[in-house]
Symmetry: C2
Subunit: 218 residues, 2 copies
Amino acid sequence: MFVRLWMTTELITIGPEQSVVEAQHCMQDNRIRRIPVVDAEGSLVGIVSQRDILNFLPSILDGSSSGASSLAGSTKVGDIMACTPMCVNPLTPLETVAQLMRQHKIGGMPVVDDNGILVGIITESDIFSAFMEVLGAGGDGARIEMIIGKESRALYTVMDIFKRYDIFVQAITVHHDFGENKRLLTIRVRGEELDGMIDALRRSGAQINRIQIGTEPL
Amino acid sequence: MFVRLWMTTELITIGPEQSVVEAQHCMQDNRIRRIPVVDAEGSLVGIVSQRDILNFLPSILDGSSSGASSLAGSTKVGDIMACTPMCVNPLTPLETVAQLMRQHKIGGMPVVDDNGILVGIITESDIFSAFMEVLGAGGDGARIEMIIGKESRALYTVMDIFKRYDIFVQAITVHHDFGENKRLLTIRVRGEELDGMIDALRRSGAQINRIQIGTEPL
């Protein structure tokens, strides 16, 4: 799971010489909240957000609002953008991006290659999509939550049963902080012999928390 | 992975009879962007967001700002709150919550029990935490990304090797849309014989994309 797989590559960008008003219209027209700023060579030079524009405008509104809009028309994106935005690489792990976004309270980051060329943008929304995928959201088959031990073999016992019943694992995640010596295993599986597999799981001592068949209960 | 494990239970709430100004101060003091509104019995009756307050104020600012603040002081939360907020249950799967938040462009949802009593709140930030956990962010050991086939046995081949080398699986996720007949398996593992295990993986034909030891490269 890394950035390249989830980033948006259909990029909307703006030049540092364009006006703040143009940036504002561009955000409204495209329903986006941030625009990477690139120079003529496609190198990232900054990022301008809805918040940057809002932060810029109020100080101007102290006075007449017509003065504000004329200043917004003449002020350049380069003057109000964040010049050294936090960037990631196409191969940055997704958990690192999630961590950075949370830590710095930012909703999206430009993705640049080793030469500083802008190649994409990754947002909270992309990270949500990735998370839904690894949790198997909307998939068919059975969603099973079960509690297993913290010893390494607990997971192998489950996998051996899946293998025996020729189960296809669509999604699998482990949550470790579930309780003392307990892990929560969430899987979405498909197979001809789901009932037999579930019986075998129960016989093995796995504590099945919940089973949902199909997408209905989601 | 379900809501109860990740929701915030230290709740900040407000009553419908309290003023908009009180709600605004409460958000500022606690650095939050939404407050569930509960009645005297603790039942959820609505939610009020920073946006609701902002949407309320500007219409008032047409005129004198002192009129606006006096009206904000006398207007009750119950008059501007969203009365039928989207809610989830403590046992709702996290992928469903992520899906709802994305679909309806909301940043957080109240969590209510079967009696309509507010028991928590779950936000984008909580979902990010959960995602980081299942991806093994910040864990030690080795983070390995490898490409495996789409046939069900491909995963079992890998698990059998882990089992043989007594590897502890800290995190495991599968990404399916990686390419034709390819899945991307991301794991974080610990063990005494990581080198032997990696050699065995390579001999088995698994295509290892990237290995990171420890947390450094994150």
